[in-house]
Amino acid sequence: MLGRSAIAGVWFALASGLVAAQPAVQVDASQVQGPRPLEEQTKTAAIRGYLKSWQSMSGAFEQNRIDLLDADFVGAAKEKMADTIGEQIKLGIQTRYQDRSHHIQFVFYSPEGLSIELIDQVEYDVQVIDHGKPISTVPTSARYIVVMTPSETQWSVRVMQADSQGNRSPGT
């Protein structure tokens, strides 16, 4: 059981070709539940897909382009984000999500191999731009619960939901 063998503590570099600063990524696969071992190759593919989804999300929200979600999101996650982008367009705003660090913990690999659940403690900045004018940038820390399922060639994000545990953002 490669996934359970040790706290990986592995630092991954983001996929190549990114212009923005790469986030620091720490991965822990020592607490995976379920009878199916999480193979190294599966783990790597899921992390790659998940980090790529942050890039897609960032681009989609900044450019208000729903099509940028297609490659990495499916199901409810994609529908919700597409709705948000539609709302941004109506309101004349854009948002820029810049992830600074991820602490990814694999928590579940379903026995039939059709879903992976992970928790990510993410540090990121959110910038709001209203009719082209930058309003504010808010440093944020949130704990995301993510469910990924395999699609044709990769693992895609099906659920992406911030949990109330572990969140802290600078208040007023």
Binding site: G34, F108, E112, L114, E117, I145, V159, Q161, D163, G171
Partner: protein, 289 residues
Amino acid sequence: MKAILTLLAASLLLAKLQAAWAQEETLRLPKSIEAGSAFLIEHSGGGEGTLYIVGPSQVLKRDVKAEGAVYFPARSLYDAGHYNVIFTQASGTKSGSFDVAPISAPDKLSFFANPSRLPIGVKHGITGAVYVFDAYGNLITAPTPVSFELSSPSGGIQKDRATTSIGRAWTEMDSTSQQGSGKFVAQVGELKSERIIRQVPGDPCTLKMNAQQAGQQVQLQTEPVRDCSGNAIPDGTIVTFTETYAGGQSTVDVPLKRDVAEVKLPLHSGAKFTVASGVVLGNQIGWQK
């Protein structure tokens, strides 16, 4: 007199400072709300401004005319998540954040069951994982009891219970000893999700053939092929007949038809015939002309 004037000036300055502190702009947010519920955001400091509530799942914007509370009616925010709040005025910007939590009542199950078809008698051969969502499609992260049931064609039922952990639960069950379709059900309260699992006979238990001369050929025919529980092996299952003789070998793959497989092979003196299906090897027959 000079001292009195100095004291008066100091008092005026202090009063002015206190007034300024009292007017300091603040933003009061709920720490957490339940998805779809109404909520208030209070601000002080007066003046017009714009309020943004931003998250990947929803975004809201309100123009604020005066000091006080901004009321958001029910169903304004219904997607669970972490939201940043930004309030901009001419005098500056304030920010904060709060969470929207899923409602606790389950409304939808996402049930992954595998496989849809498998041989009978496989221990832990059937697996299922279920994710529990509320009416807004939020993953319910609070522990929620789930029951699983697998009904067999004979009417027997396997049951398992679990409690969700961060929104999901799973189970493993055995395929039964009787072929046919079974219902695999995940249930949370009155909410059910059902999958059909087809259980098919396993490998043949034994394989026996008989041989009979038919002119210049030998006709080989198996006895009805069944698994170890007595279930008929499905038509189409491949049975391989092999004839080995001096100087050669012939192999023929034949699909089962109505429980038996049969074939005619050329007759060679001293030939040996064998039969196999999958990993099961049948009897051997030697033939002399």
